[in-house]
Amino acid sequence: MAGDPTLIGRVTRSSTLGFVGALKSPEPEIPVFGMFCKCEAQRGKSDVLGVIYNINIEDDDLTRQIAAAERPTEEELADQQYVRQIPIEFEALAVGYRLTEAYFYTLPPQPPLALAPIRPMKSDEIVQFTNQFEFIPLILSASNLPVDALLAACLRKASVARPRQERQNFLLEAGRYCAKLLSHDLPRMDSFLRILCFEEKSAI
C-alpha cells in the first residue's frame, strides 16, 4: 500500500452492518480501535462510514513454531510482525453513510464491494459527522460487541478531532446523549461514564 498513504486496507468481506478489511502490515497509527473510517460503495456514489471495533492477527504454523522456539532472531520477529503471509484483519461497524455532501445516521443502502479501498476519515469529516449524535444508538445497539468501550473510544477520537477549547463541551453533550439512552441501566451507565470521564481528562 506504499502507493497510497491514505489507504488502510481493502474490503475482504462486507454486509450492510459493517465490513472487514485486511492489510499486510500495521502502521503504528492505523488501524486502531474506535477509529472512524470510510469505504466507497455504490460505485463511488456513497461512502459507508464505520468504526473499527476489532483487529485480528491470526497465526499460522510458522508463527507457532517461532513462538515456541527458545529465542527468535531479530529477523524472524520482523518478518512475522511486519511482512506477514497472513494479512491483518480489522472489522468495522457501519454507523452511517455519506451520500453526495450529506451524512446519514443509519445503515447504508448497500455494503461496499470486495476490495473497495478503506480510508481513515479526516478530522474535518469526523467533526462534521459527529456534530450530530445519532450514530451513537447504532453503536450501542450492536450485539456481541464491546459497545461501551467502543463508543467511549469513538467519542474520544471525535473530541480530539476538534479544537482544544471545544473538546470538553463535546464530550459533555455526547455524554448526556448517551446517558439518556443508558438511563434504564444505571450500573452500566456509571461504568461507561467512568471511561468517558477518563477520556475527558486525557483529551483536555
Partner: protein, 551 residues
C-alpha cells in the same frame, strides 16, 4: 393586523431566549408538570413567579410556579446516585437523567385571536414551551391604575409592575385580610382602605382595636406612619373615640366621642358577650326576662349597689333564682369598668355615625385603652353594626320602592374577626348575616384575622377577595383556600412567604392570584394619596404662588 401581531402586542414579543422548559404532563385540576431546561439552574427559580406557556394552538396560558422538584428518568437513581466527586459525571447526569421540574398552576388563558383574559378551561398540550412571564405580560394582566383600580403591591421580583386591586369588586363582596401577627395585616388594611376612601366607592366603618388606623402609628423601631385621618384632611375620614383621654394623649384629632347609654343596650347586645363574660344559657335567657321586667333602665337597676325592692320582687315571683341574678349582677360589673358606657340614655352618636357613613365619610372608631378588652370590642362592634345595618336595610328597602336614594356602600372593618364569626355564633350574629347576605343591603365586611381556621366555613366561602400574608398553621392555610377552586397548590407558596410585607391576593378583585410584595406605606404613598409634606409641600406652595402671580 395579523393574529400573531395582535397577540404580540398584547403580551409583548415572545421571549424564546428565556425558555424555561417544556410541559411534560399534568392536568387541569392538579396543574402542569414542566421539565426545566438543563441550562437553567433551578436554584434560580422561586415559587410564586409567573410563567407563560405557549400552547401549540397559539393560545397562551398564564400560570404560577407553585412547586419545584427534582426529577429523574430512572427512580433507581435515588438509590444509586452517581459519583458526585466527578464534576463531569454529575454534569452528564444533570440534564437528561436528573432534571429539575416545576409545577405550574394555570390561571388564565389568552386566545390567539383576541386579547381577552379568560378563565382556564383547558391546558396546553404536551411539550408546549414554557417561558418566564415578562414584566409586560404581567403588567397587562393587572391593568392600569385608575380611579377604581388601586395599586397595592408588586409581583415577586417584578418591581416595575403594579398589581392593581379592582376596588369596585373589592367592596362588592366581603373580603378578608389574613396572616400571622406582625406580618403586615394592619398596614395592608390601611393601604387598601386608603384606596377605597380615595375612590369614594364606599364608606368604611373601622373598628380600630389597636389604634392603627385613625391617627399616627409607630412601629417597633419608632418610625411613625400616618393614619387615615391624616391622609384625608378634607373631612372624608372622621375619628370617633371611645377613650378620649388616650386619643388626646396620642395627639389624635377627634371628631367625636362615643358614649353608649346603659339604656341603649339590649339583651341581644349582651348575649354576644356570653362567652367572654361567662354567662350560662340560663343566665342569657334571664337577660331577656330582666329587660322585660325592669324596662329600659334594666342595666342601671342591676348595677345598683343597694338591694332594691324591685329586684327583690323578681325573686319573689320565682321566675329567677337568687343565684342566677347574683351571677348576672356580678358579671355586669364589667359595664361599670367600661367608661364609655354611661348611665342613662346616651347621646345621638349612633345617628351621627350613620349620617357620616351615608354621606360618604368613613369613620374610624378608636378603642383607645378599651382595645385590650375583647369584650368591649365585641360589645361595641356588635352594638353599632346591628343598628347601622338595620338602618341600611331600611334605606335599601325604601330605595327599592323608589322612595329614597341607594345607600352609599359601606365596608365594615373588624379585627380578630373569628371572635365574631366562629362557627358556634356565626349563624346568628349580625356579622355572620352580613357575610352571608352578600351585598344585598350595600353592606360588606372587611375582616382582618390571624386565625382564619376559627371562622365559620360558610362565612369563609362568602369571602370574595382574600389577601393573605404568611400563615404557618396548616388549618389556617386550608381555611384561606377553602371554597376557591384550583388554588390549593398555592399552599406551598403561602407557607413560604416572607414574614413581612408579602401576601397572596386571590379572588374577586384580581384577574388571577398573585403573590405581591405589598406597597411601602411611606412618603411616596402619602404623596400618591395627595398628601404633600415638607419640601414637597413647600415646592407645591411655590408653584402655586407662581401660577397665581405668573402670566
Amino acid at each position: 393586523m395579523s393574529e400573531e401581531s395582535t397577540l404580540d402586542e398584547f403580551l409583548g414579543p415572545k421571549l424564546t431566549n428565556t425558555q424555561m422548559g417544556i410541559v411534560v404532563g399534568g392536568s387541569l385540576s392538579s396543574g402542569l408538570e414542566v421539565k426545566i431546561n438543563s441550562k437553567l439552574s433551578i436554584e434560580r427559580l422561586a415559587v410564586g413567579r409567573y410563567v407563560v406557556v405557549e400552547g401549540r394552538s397559539g393560545r397562551r396560558f398564564f400560570g404560577l410556579i407553585t412547586d419545584i422538584s427534582l426529577g429523574s428518568i430512572n427512580p433507581d437513581m435515588q438509590r444509586r446516585p452517581p459519583d458526585s466527586s466527578e464534576e463531569f459525571v454529575t454534569q452528564v447526569y444533570s440534564s437528561e437523567v436528573a432534571f429539575g421540574s416545576i409545577h405550574v398552576s394555570p390561571m388564565l388563558m389568552i386566545d390567539e385571536d383576541d386579547d381577552e383574559l379568560r378563565p382556564i378551561k383547558t391546558i396546553p398540550t404536551h411539550f408546549s414551551p414554557v417561558v418566564e412571564a415578562s414584566a409586560a405580560d404581567v403588567a397587562r394582566v393587572f391593568g392600569e391604575e385608575d380611579e377604581t383600580h388601586f395599586y397595592v403591591g408588586t409581583p415577586l421580583e417584578m418591581e416595575t409592575v403594579q398589581v392593581n386591586l379592582d376596588l369596585s369588586r373589592f367592596v362588592e363582596r366581603s373580603s378578608g385580610i389574613f396572616g400571622k401577627s406582625g406580618t403586615g395585616k394592619s398596614f395592608i388594611t390601611r393601604t387598601v382602605l386608603s384606596g377605597v376612601i380615595k375612590s369614594r366607592l364606599a364608606s368604611a366603618l373601622i373598628f380600630d382595636m389597636h389604634n392603627d388606623y385613625g391617627w399616627s402609628v409607630r412601629d417597633e423601631t419608632g418610625r411613625e406612619f400616618k393614619g387615615l385621618r391624616q391622609l384625608f384632611t378634607d373631612g372624608r375620614v372622621s375619628v370617633v373615640t371611645l377613650d378620649e383621654d388616650t386619643s388626646r394623649a396620642r395627639g389624635s384629632k377627634i371628631d367625636r366621642v362615643l358614649k353608649i347609654g346603659y339604656g341603649q343596650i339590649q339583651p341581644e347586645d349582651v348575649e354576644m358577650l356570653s362567652g367572654l363574660l361567662g354567662l350560662s344559657d340560663v343566665q342569657v335567657g334571664a337577660l331577656y326576662y330582666l329587660r322585660r321586667r325592669l324596662g329600659k333602665d334594666w342595666i342601671s337597676k342591676l348595677l345598683q349597689e343597694d338591694d332594691s325592692s324591685e329586684l327583690q320582687g323578681l325573686l319573689e315571683d320565682g321566675r329567677i333564682i337568687a343565684g342566677t341574678l347574683g351571677a348576672i349582677q356580678r358579671k355586669f360589673e364589667f359595664f361599670r369598668r367600661m367608661d364609655f358606657l354611661v348611665p342613662g340614655e346616651g347621646d345621638d352618636a349612633l345617628e351621627d355615625i350613620f349620617r357620616r357613613l351615608t354621606s360618604g365619610t368613613s369613620v374610624v372608631l378608636e378603642f383607645g385603652r378599651f382595645g385590650d378588652t375583647l369584650a368591649a370590642y365585641v360589645l361595641v362592634a356588635n352594638y353599632l353594626t346591628r343598628r347601622i345595618h338595620r338602618r341600611y336595610v331600611h334605606m335599601k328597602n325604601k330605595a327599592a320602592g323608589g322612595k329614597e336614594e341607594q345607600p352609599k356602600p359601606l365596608v365594615i372593618v373588624i379585627e380578630e374577626a373569628h371572635k365574631f364569626l366562629d362557627p358556634t355564633i356565626a349563624s346568628h350574629t349580625i356579622f355572620g348575616n352580613i357575610a352571608r347576605e352578600l351585598r344585598k343591603y350595600n353592606v360588606t365586611l372587611l375582616i382582618v384575622d390571624q386565625r382564619p381556621s376559627a371562622i365559620d366555613d360558610e362565612v369563609m366561602s362568602q369571602i370574595g377577595t382574600r389577601v393573605t400574608c404568611l400563615l404557618d398553621n396548616e388549618a389556617d392555610i386550608r381555611a384561606v383556600f377553602s371554597g376557591v377552586s384550583g388554588v390549593s397548590a398555592l399552599r406551598e407558596v403561602l407557607a413560604r412567604l416572607d414574614t413581612r410585607q408579602q401576601a397572596i391576593i386571590l379572588g374577586h378583585a384580581v384577574p388571577m392570584p398573585v403573590v405581591v410584595r405589598t406597597r411601602d406605606y411611606d412618603e411616596n404613598f402619602y404623596a400618591s394619596i395627595g398628601v404633600l409634606e415638607g419640601n414637597a409641600l413647600r415646592d407645591g406652595a411655590i408653584q402655586g404662588s407662581e401660577t397665581l402671580f405668573g402670566d
